[in-house]
């Protein structure tokens, strides 16, 4: 999280007195003194201030040029500061301890594995220093979401500890293999993967392909408000994910998050159809071009009926074959007015194997790109078309540009989201030899990433 020791002059001052972060100190200045705990300082901030947490709970930064002396306190002091010779009492009272009882877990409950990978949902704060750590142990989980013990007995494992913007395709492989290991124990009714939200929809799509034969539900969930806040959405999302993992009649890869801004209704999305569509709100995740597969309220799980989808029933998956590799040599490229066509030839030079275009409208890029596109395809690159509109279907037969692009060999991907197309291409390239086969499979519906009917109205919830 970027919290670190002091640097520069501040660090000299503290080291000289052998003062460590978390110790109780008094800092004397010309007007008086401040007393409290020495706090760490974020790397990005200047090294001219020392931060302490005063007895009244507030943090302040003290300019080191104004410091006359610093000393360690022998015992906890009862005041926050003395200014102009006067002690200013802290407003706080001594704090009573309240311990949360350790829960008795019933053996009869269905078992669920919770694999944590990091992100907001697993972050915890040290209230004393304000440092944020990203840990989710089994005991942390039961302490922070005791309701979970009503639905399942949860085994937790921390696989990764990354904010999701730092994840790479190899991490998807790691996650897929860990999940397979859990599936193969045969003891779990479902598996929950806690994940940072930024790229959760890439992971859910990637896992959908890698684990397409799973016999049990794999449920991804995250939090848009961190777990240290009383208003966090983490607990409700985790409870909903657990309930779905235990109760779902279907196997597959799903994402469970808030359906709207209220705490109450959760939406369950198909891993290949979901997208993060808002930077910060609780209901940022939406299914694209179809309704969420299920709605979860406090009493029930309602599956939406949708006869266009091929859903596997729990237990029906073939246990044998999983393909969990991904090839990074695929590029997701958004077209825009003024797009420089040589970007395409540069990608070819750099070893790119496939390009997923986010074209305009029905799936277009300017005719200025035609030459480079032709050359790229002639050199063996696969080029696929999705739409930056996200909503709706690519159709390259309506306008001349589209027809020309088809003629060049650009392959339209129907109503597949750009992110899903990217992970699918990465997965197909890693696990197939022939480009003919890859191109064919890209257009084939494998994990409900394509639906062939566009509903008139979609209730986004």
């Amino acid at each position: 999280m970027g919290t670190s020791e002091y640097k520069g002059k501040a660090s000299e001052l503290l080291n000289g007195k052998d003062i460590k972060i978390g110790q109780s100190i008094t800092i004397h200045t010309a007007v008086g003194g401040y007393s409290g705990l020495l706090l760490p300082r974020y790397e990005l901030f200047d090294d001219n201030h020392i931060v302490i947490k005063l007895g009244n709970g507030y943090n302040i930064g003290i300019d080191i040029t104004k410091i006359i002396s610093i000393e360690k306190n022998c015992s906890e002091l009862q005041y926050s500061a003395y200014i102009n010779g006067k002690f200013l009492d802290s407003k706080s009272e001594s704090l009573d301890e309240f311990r949360v009882p350790i829960l008795d877990l019933k053996d009869s409950l269905p078992r669920v594995a919770l694999i944590s990978t990091g992100g907001t949902i697993g972050s915890k704060i040290d209230y004393r220093t304000g440092g944020v750590t990203s840990v989710m142990s089994a005991s942390d989980l039961y302490l922070s979401v005791p309701e979970i013990s009503k639905y399942a007995s949860v085994d937790t494992e921390m696989l990764l500890n990354e904010y999701s913007e730092n994840l790479v395709p190899d991490d998807w492989t790691l996650m897929a293999n860990k999940i397979i290991e859990k599936i193969n124990t045969g003891i779990y009714k479902g598996i929950i993967l806690s994940h940072g939200t930024d790229t959760m929809h890439y992971t859910s799509a990637a896992l959908s392909f890698a684990l397409r034969n799973t016999p049990i539900p794999i449920v991804l969930t995250g939090a848009q408000r961190s777990s240290d806040r009383p208003s966090s959405d983490a607990a409700l999302n985790l409870i909903g994910a657990t309930r779905f993992a235990v109760k779902s009649e279907h196997s597959g890869v799903f994402v469970v998050m808030h359906a709207n801004t209220s705490d109450g209704l959760l939406a369950c999305h198909l891993g290949t159809r979901v997208r993060k569509n808002h930077t910060s709100s609780r209901d940022a995740f939406e299914s694209i071009n179809l309704e969420p597969i299920a709605l979860i309220d406090s009493d029930s799980i309602k599956m939406q009926s949708n006869n266009m989808l091929k859903l596997t029933r729990r237990g029906e998956g073939k246990h044998s074959s999983y393909e969990t590799s991904f090839d990074r040599h695929v590029v997701l490229l958004q077209y825009y007015p003024g797009f420089e066509p040589t970007i395409i030839s540069d990608l070819v030079k750099n070893g790119c194997k496939a390009i997923i275009f986010e074209g305009t409208g029905l799936g277009h890029v300017s005719r200025d790109c035609f030459t480079q596109l032709k050359q790229a395809i002639e050199s063996g690159i696969m080029i696929f078309m999705t739409s930056q509109c996200l909503w709706g279907r690519v159709n390259m037969n309506v306008y001349n540009t589209g027809r020309d692009l088809l003629g060049i060999g650009i392959i339209p991907l129907s109503d597949m989201t750009p992110e899903t197309a990217l992970t699918k291409a990465m997965w197909l390239i890693a696990n197939n030899e022939s480009s003919v086969e890859i191109k064919w499979k890209m257009q084939e519906n494998m994990c409900n990433e394509i639906t062939y009917v566009s509903p008139i109205e979609i209730d986004k919830k």
Partner: protein
């Protein structure tokens, strides 16, 4: 019997919360107006945050016991995703920060070199995030009122909370409009002081803030909290004193209450020799016994199948629950207030029974069931839904066990009548941690130098200036200064040609009169008042219409001055003449008798009839002309 403050070492620490007039909120660009036209709503629940050590803030745990669902009402004009806790806070409002720094300079308080925004855990639902953003601006300093200095403890800048709209059946409703309005909190040192002196102090501090012209006006824009303690007692925090005369009553009440609790403790320890409170020895169900009582209230409550009544005894406590060291101060009352928190109306206790329809026979059965062996034992009966009753009993036992400690540290609320009621235990310091979404703010010394120019001058300078500049008398100058309408007064006087004395009296006496009649002056916005005086300036309304318009706004009869004028404009000159002729014809006897001398009386009658619908001078002129004509005709 009243307490002597010197005997009990009464200490009062005043804490003022003043909304700032910044136009926008502290951490987003929403308008900082209160607004009740809500168009959006959503629901949330809050969970207490948990530190690594497994320690939860006691207040947070307490709130979480009352499992709640919160409903928030909002309008796009006054709330955005930041208030909804759906977007991180934006940069701090510079104007609000400047105001807080200016107040710190004005009160000689020592400003922090670097300000850190904190999250103060508040899980009563009043903050959607579950915390209030607050920052320590400065510490130390003093405020000087009537030549007496009182120390300043700290000055903080923080977000105001949501407005509680309703609180029923463990579901609370809040309005988001007030959430995030910048608020300056000034905490003064606890001092030995008489209640009237506290009032002077609050008034003096309020004047310093108002003199800056940077503070909001209206009901609720300033709130006083007081920390009150007596010798041997812990500090009790009283929230939500809105009026200064209420402050005096609250302090007197708390002094009696706290000292009363100490007298009770003393009696328990020294007279009754109780060293430990034993009250958790068997809780019994007395529902069936009370079914046979003659209390209509109890019988009514038992129609609900889920209602249970439980009782428990307190050893050696007979007489102590009803013991009244000061008028209205009883342990029984304290306990009754405590259980209201769990949606339970109150308790019955043995010192007041038989009574309330609970018969001697009922009591005998209850005592048998409780295995009450000694006459010296007391007991408590409590009824309601099972979960609530269980929670409430747990709280009662906790409170009773603390009786020997005297005054518990708690947060209480001031009632309009000047008493206080229990809200929650006082929170500890674990309830604060850093707001990581906002970088620390370095306080620039150059900025401070420039802000020093903006320190408000002493009130005498302002009033003297108003006397010389606007020709106001001293009383009116002070009144307008204290009235919260100072900014508005200056705006009106500078933008119209209306006499300043007239404006000042309309902004003070007239509004105060309407407030005394029970009208809510917060319904009269600055914009509307300005509009009224602009219309007056243009001659579109009469001087007499000003208070009538105030009243119409406060009654919500009109939303704009136009609506009133359109009623007024339909009265043409011709209609006015007709009306006046009608009045003259109705008073022919008086006119015959008094001649021109009847003009005063007629003017009074006419004004009463046409109140505010036309200009007084115009009416006077027409009336006089008509009367003269009439008398002239008669003489012919």
């Amino acid at each position: 019997m009243t307490t002597n403050k010197l005997d009990i070492n009464l200490k009062v620490g005043l804490e003022i919360h003043q909304q700032l007039a910044t136009g926008t909120k502290l951490f987003c660009q929403c308008r900082s107006n209160e607004d009740e036209e809500y168009t959006l709503d959503f629901s949330r629940s809050l969970r207490p945050a948990q530190s690594e050590l497994g320690i939860i803030d006691p207040a947070a745990l307490f709130e979480s016991k009352k499992i709640q669902s919160f409903r928030y009402l909002a309008a796009n004009r006054t709330s955005c995703l930041v208030e909804a806790d759906e977007e991180p806070p934006h940069c701090i409002n510079r104007e609000a920060l400047e105001s807080a720094l200016i107040f710190s300079l004005a009160l000689n308080s020592h400003i922090a070199d670097e300000i850190h925004v904190m999250r103060k855990i508040v899980i009563d639902g009043s903050n959607t995030s579950g915390f209030q953003r607050t920052m320590l601006i400065s510490m130390g300093g003093f405020v000087e009122v009537n030549g007496k200095r009182t120390g300043v403890q700290s000055i903080c800048l923080e977000e105001d909370a949501s407005k509680l709209i309703s609180d029923k059946n463990s579901k609370r409703e809040f309005g988001l409009d007030r959430l995030g309005i910048p608020l300056v909190e000034i905490a003064l040192e606890p001092v030995s002081i008489t209640p009237p002196e506290v009032m002077q102090l609050a008034l003096g501090l309020g004047r310093i803030l108002r003199a800056s012209k940077r503070v909001a006006r209206g009901i609720g824009s300033i709130r006083q909290d007081v920390n009150i303690s007596v010798e041997d007692g812990r500090v009790v925090e009283i929230k939500g004193v809105q009026k200064l005369d209420q402050l005096v009553k609250v302090i007197q009440y708390e002094a009696n209450r706290q000292h009363g609790l100490i007298i009770i403790t003393d009696k328990l320890k020294n007279e009754l020799g109780i060293k430990e409170i034993r009250c958790d020895n068997g809780i019994v169900d007395v529902t069936d016994i009370l079914r046979r009582s003659s209390s209509r209230k109890i019988i009514e409550s038992l129609k609900d199948q889920s209602t249970v009544y439980k009782a428990f005894k307190i050893e050696g406590f007979a007489g102590m629950l009803g013991f009244e060291p000061y008028e209205g101060i009883r342990l029984g009352k304290e306990l009754s207030q405590l259980v209201r928190f769990y949606g339970i109306g109150g308790i019955f206790h043995s010192d007041e029974l038989p009574g309330y329809g609970i018969t001697k026979e009922n009591l005998d059965s209850i005592e048998r069931k409780l295995a009450k062996s000694s006459k010296n034992d007391a007991f408590i009966i409590i009824g309601g839904g099972l979960t609530n009753v269980n929670f409430a009993i747990e709280s009662l036992i906790q409170r009773l066990k603390a009786v020997l400690e005297g005054v518990p540290a708690e947060t209480r609320a001031a009632t309009p009548s000047g008493e206080t009621i229990y809200i929650r235990p006082r929170p500890g310091s674990a309830r604060m941690y850093p707001e990581t979404d906002i970088a620390p703010i370095k306080v620039d010394s150059l900025l401070l130098d420039s802000l020093r120019q903006k320190i408000p001058r002493p009130i005498e300078e302002y009033t003297n200036e108003m006397i010389s500049k606007f020709g106001l008398n001293k009383k009116l100058a002070e009144e307008i200064f204290d009235s919260q309408y100072l900014n508005l007064f200056e705006k009106i006087v500078s933008s119209t040609k209306i006499s300043p004395t007239f404006v000042a009296s309309k902004l003070t006496e007239d509004i105060t009169n309407l407030e005394r009649q029970g009208y809510d002056s917060s319904l009269l916005s600055d914009e509307r008042v300005l509009e009224i005086f602009n219309e007056l300036d243009k001659g579109r309304i009469a001087k007499e219409s000003v208070p009538i318009l105030y009243e119409k706004f406060m009654k919500r009869e009109i939303n704009r001055v136009e609506e009133f004028e359109s009623g007024f404009e339909t009265m043409t000159e011709r209609q006015l003449e007709d009306e006046i002729e009608g009045i003259l014809n109705n008073h022919l006897d008086a006119i015959n008798e008094k001649g021109m001398n009847s003009l005063g009386m007629l003017m009074g009658r006419t004004m009463a009839m046409l109140k505010g619908r036309s200009d007084g001078q115009k009416i006077n002129k027409i009336l006089k002309d008509k009367l003269e004509q009439m008398l002239a005709l008669r003489e012919q």
